[in-house]
Structures are given as structure tokens and as C-alpha cells.
């Protein structure tokens, strides 16, 4: 378990954006693994199996949560200025923005930024960049249109880029402002 717990926890934490929920789901993943212990013991793909189960259980959890709060989510969505229009970037992101930030700081910034993204942007973004699913697969998994997946991921990227530029040293920021 110790060999895989960080991988499972990272998957659930990034998808759910909440430590307590991520721990609960990671626990369920390992309990499921113990239920299938005989099959998995000899399997060479145990890491892949755990990652798939972690992803599926996290998505199921989010779906249940969304159903429970559907009325209020709908109220909130109608209040948001969240149209399907393409997002706008009111600044340029220099290619060197990542180089300007120390590695540890950069990791912390990206992790924090991911957690701050709204669920409908974070989940497809994580599935695309971390789980390496295609846009089409993500749309099928989340039961939304392909266009919405693309827009949400793009919005998520724009938000992340904005936070990275903010975390960058001032000379990189001024470069972004000038260009």
C-alpha cells in the first residue's frame, strides 16, 4: 500500500480539490483493492488498476455530490457569468513564466491554483493533463458536450496561467504586461 498511497491520494485530491474527501475516497480505493487482493497480487498492472479505481470513485463521488446539490448548483450557475463563449486572456503569458519561479514555489502555486478552480473547470483539466484522457473521453465520462469540455479546460488553463504570472517575479510580470 505504501508504494501506491501517494499516487492514489494525488489522483483523488486533485480531482476532488478537498483533503478530507480525498482521504475518504483513497481509503475506499484501498479497501476495494483488498477485496480484489487475490486477483491483484499477481497482476503487473496494479498501479493502473488503482489509478483507474481512484478516478472512477472520485468522479462517482462528485456526481453524487452534484446531484444532492443540483438545485443550488443551478441557482449558482444562473448567477454566474459563465457563458459558453471563449474565454479572454487580458494579458500575455511569456514562455519563460515557469522559469522565473523556483520549482518548489511553482509546484505549490499550481497545486493551490488547481484547488481554487471551480469544479467544472478543475475536473476536466485534471483528467486531460494528469490522467491523459482525450477531450472526447472526458466529455463521455462527465456526460457533457465536447464543446463544454474544451471551453472549461481552456478557462481552467487561463486561470492557472493568470495565477502563475501573479506568482512570477516582477520582471516577468512586467514582460507579460508589455506584450
Amino acid at each position: 500500500m505504501s508504494a501506491y498511497q501517494d499516487m492514489v491520494y494525488s489522483t483523488t485530491a486533485r480531482l476532488l480539490g478537498d483533503d478530507a474527501q480525498a482521504q475518504d475516497i483513497a481509503q475506499d480505493v484501498f479497501l476495494k483493492a483488498f477485496e480484489h487482493f487475490e486477483q491483484l497480487r499477481a497482476s503487473a498492472t496494479i498501479g493502473g488498476w488503482l489509478k483507474t479505481v481512484a478516478t472512477n470513485l472520485s468522479l462517482n463521488h462528485l456526481t453524487r455530490h452534484r446531484r444532492r446539490w443540483r438545485l443550488f448548483s443551478d441557482l449558482q450557475r444562473s448567477g454566474d457569468a459563465d457563458s459558453d463563449d471563449e474565454p479572454e486572456l487580458d494579458f500575455a503569458v511569456p514562455d519563460t513564466v515557469l522559469d522565473g519561479i523556483a520549482a518548489e514555489e511553482r509546484h505549490r502555486t499550481v497545486e493551490n491554483a488547481l484547488r481554487r478552480l471551480p469544479e467544472h473547470q478543475r475536473v476536466p483539466l485534471v483528467l486531460y493533463h494528469f490522467e491523459e484522457l482525450s477531450y472526447q473521453d472526458i466529455a463521455q465520462r462527465l456526460h457533457v458536450s465536447l464543446a463544454k469540455v474544451k471551453t472549461d479546460i481552456l478557462r481552467g488553463r487561463v486561470s492557472l496561467a493568470r495565477m502563475l504570472v501573479r506568482a512570477a517575479p516582477s520582471d516577468t510580470r512586467s514582460e507579460a504586461a508589455q506584450s
Binding site: 500500500m1 501517494d6 491520494y9 484501498f30 443550488f72 479572454e88 514562455d95 511553482r106 471551480p118 481552456l154
Partner: protein, 160 residues
Amino acid sequence: MTLSPQEQARLERLIGTACRELPLLEAPQSLAARVTAQLQRRAAQPAWRAPFSQWSKGLRITFLPVALIVMGVTLSMSAGPGAQRLTTLALAPLSRALARLESTGALIALLATLCRHLGISLLQDIPTFWLYGCVAGLLALYALLAGISATAFRTLYGTR
């Protein structure tokens, strides 16, 4: 500035790089302990409380014929000569309960009549305007509750 396809591709590369280089998050130390505790709790439970899929193979194989035999015996007894005696035995507590229910039902009917008379006299005495006011008040309270719940949701879960 709306993003051109080239800008979008550049942004995808940039965020892809930032995400790929992220190290795995360190799982809390309590995770392993929680899993172990949960497994011990499960192990302490009697076998029959576990889901059928987790029963041992022998138990699963034994269970099905035993269940079929029990069903067969029950059905044959209910159709055979012992059926009437069984029915009497089984229905005795039911008829006692029904008798008790009848007396309880009479008491409930009496209470309902009293409430109805009380309700009718109250309705006749209360001005209609007050009744409409009460209904409007209840609707307003319901709307307020929905508003408070929506605000609580937006505050607590809005950013998730």
C-alpha cells in the same frame, strides 16, 4: 483579447508542462492507519454480514442449495396437510394484533372527530384575512429557507 488557436496551443503546452512536472502529493500518514482500522473492523464482523461477493467460495457454493432446500420445504409445508395448522399458528399473533388495532382505531376515530369539530369551530371564528395571511407567511418562510440554503451553498461550496 480572444485567444487565437496558436495562443491556445501555447497555453496548453505551458500548463501541460506545469502539470507534468508536479510531484505526487504526499498522502497523510493517517491514511494507512484508517485503511488498516477499517479492514480490522470488517474482519471482526460475522461472515454473513459481508457482501455476498466477499463470502468464501465454499460458503457461496453451499448457500445456494441450502437456500433452495429451505424454500422447497417451506413451500411443501404450506401446501400439505400441516399447512392449516401452520397457518393457524402463524395467524394467531396477527389476529391478536388486529384486535388491538381495532380498539386503537376506535380511539383514533374519536380523537379525529374531536379535532374536526374543534377545527371547524376555529375556522368559523378566525377571520378569512388571517388565514390568507398565515398561508402567505408560510410561503414567505419557505422562500426564505430556500434563499438561506442557496446562500449557504454558495458560501460553503461555491468555489468547489
